[in-house]
């Protein structure tokens, strides 16, 4: 087990810069999730750590060792792929054994470890099957097994759950969390699914267009998104982001007018999470106004209601039994403490 340290890593493919000057430290035993929209460079970052992509500049350290010049195999890490990458012509047992064979592990020990790993993951009955005869969940278990069996210093996960259906995805998520608890192997996990990031990560790192937007504990990131991008990306349903102008201490957007965090004249973005928007509350500190309902989505446990706010839309997450109809006019209130402010130009948080 070891810590991982990335310093000023830049990657270019041809003229296109995929990662710009990225740095990240992962402590020994930590579970860090890289999250971002597709094309943000998160998988590339994983491949830089693995040694499959060579950065144009920057350093990669695993433990005390600088590994830039090392072969992937010499870095002592294991990776789990989105499409599982099981060898189609080998049985499950052979797939599990392959990395050990390459390390010339003696036959007896190899067989013992294959058996143990298979037991841990509930694969004992499938050892003689070929990947083509397995379900998606089983294949993913085999892929996990192939990573586990080597006892690596570092685990890399490349969107391992995105090919599974929703139910399996939850199961496997729990399985991975359990595995990490047990093994405490330093892990880097890539996903585009923010809820996966929030549930799994000891820390999450939000990536956009080749740069880190924010790195931190999931709840901290959720509670205080550092940029407008993170605010919009983390949390479901997504945060309401209302661009407007602050002038003379007031911020105005549509019918909404409230005290601005600054006296200067400035273009700002107001962020409010939908669950912080309430109906008919009348606290003195709250901002409240009447708005038209434009759309209602009843989801059972919650009801999402959209209001027209000038040319924008304000969404509220209400209780599942809320009775709201399209076209009604409702009094809506926001708690002042739940407001997030971002600069419209730089996207950075104000406070």
């Amino acid at each position: 087990m070891a810590a991982l340290d990335l310093r000023n890593v830049t990657v270019r493919f041809g003229e296109h810069t995929v990662l710009r000057d990225v740095s990240l430290s992962v402590a020994d035993g930590e579970f860090v999730v890289l999250v971002g929209p597709s094309g943000c460079g998160k998988s590339t970052l994983l491949r830089v750590v693995a040694g499959l992509v060579r950065p144009a500049s920057g350093e990669v350290r695993i433990g005390e060792r600088r590994v830039d010049a090392l072969e992937p195999a010499e870095r002592d890490l294991a990776m789990v792929f989105q499409n599982y990458a099981l060898y189609p012509h080998k049985t499950v047992a052979q797939n599990l054994a392959f990395p050990l064979e390459l390390r010339r592990v003696p036959r007896a020990e190899l067989e013992r470890r294959v058996r143990e790993t298979a037991e841990t993951l509930g694969l004992s009955d499938l050892l003689e099957r070929k990947p083509g005869a397995l379900s998606g969940g089983q294949m993913q278990r085999v892929a996990l097994g192939r990573a586990l069996i080597r006892d690596p210093k570092l685990f890399l996960f490349d969107e391992p759950l995105s090919n599974l259906d929703a139910k399996l995805r939850h199961e496997m998520r729990a399985e991975i969390a359990r595995l990490h608890q047990r093994t405490r192997v330093t892990s880097l996990y890539v996903t585009h699914d923010q809820s996966e990031a929030l549930t799994l990560g000891g820390r999450i790192a939000v990536l956009d267009r080749g740069r880190f937007e924010q790195v931190g504990a999931p709840l901290a990131v959720f509670a205080r998104p550092a940029t407008r991008f993170v605010a919009g990306f983390i949390g479901s349903p997504a945060m309401n982001l209302l661009p407007g102008r602050a002038r003379g201490g007031r911020f105005e957007v549509g019918e909404l007018s409230l005290a601005a965090p600054t006296d200067a004249t400035r273009e700002l973005v107001l962020g409010v999470r939908p669950h912080e928007v309430a109906l008919d509350a009348a606290d003195a500190r709250d901002v409240s106004l009447e708005l038209d309902v434009t759309f209602v989505e009843a989801l059972g446990t919650q009801t999402l209601v959209s209001f027209r706010l000038g040319e924008h839309e304000l969404r509220a997450s209400l209780d599942g039994d809320a009775r709201v109809r399209i076209g009604e006019r409702k009094r809506v209130s926001l708690s002042r403490s739940s407001l997030h402010w971002f600069d419209q130009g730089t996207g950075l948080r104000l406070d």
């Binding site: 491949r47 294991a78 990458a85 012509h89 390459l102």
Partner: protein
Amino acid sequence: MSARLFNRSALAVAAVLFALPFAFLLVVSLAPEGRGLEDLSAGLVEPHPENYRLALEKMGGFGRLFANTLFVTVASIVGQCVTCSLAGYAFARIPFRGRDLLFACVLATMMLPEQVTAIPRFLLFREAGLVDTFGPLILPTVLGGAPFFVFLFRQYFLSLPIELDEAARLDGAGHLRIYWSIALPLARPMLATVAIFTFLGTWNDFWTPLIYLFSDENRTLTLALAGFQRSFNVAVEFMLAASAVVLAPCVLVYFVAQKVFLRGVRVAASKH
């Protein structure tokens, strides 16, 4: 319905037209000496299967001819499959500087007519003391002879998921190991396709054996067959009988390997 009928009849006509020359070849090869062309029914009315025996006798030492041809063919197939798949794998999977330039070289050699390089190649083999051995027939194929196959293998490997390679590399496999344990077993259809193409090419080749092989014990089948072509003293019937013997293994190989072959062609066609 009528369109279906039209299609069926069109296909039937095509089948007949494509089979016709074969039928012709067989019928004439069975006709009595000197009469095959005069009277096409002669071979049917009064078949002379001994034409085949006589034709083989005229070729001389059929066993030896067959063994030589088989040896050259098998060696070429093995060499071609190994070298072309190695190169195809490198072009498809390993990033290295100058790759595009080298691959352009592969494509350029596809356009080079054989006759251009014949003389300098011949002198090269003479310097190496390999004239009148099977070396000149086998070596150019073993050493990546057919650029087209390098191209086919590259296309095939490009169609495999890159994650398989990445997984294997993390597992600790080098490129050679990945090629051998992962890529090659998965390329079986393409190996079959290349093997069949090589088989047909080598088996049917006439010119290379002609200029390189002199000794009696080194002759190949097509060389012996060519002895019949345009020669005044051998009757057409014998010539066609000998042709039928030489082409029989090709037909056989195609029938046996048809399925795998089609699968390889499918990959080559769809992953262009």
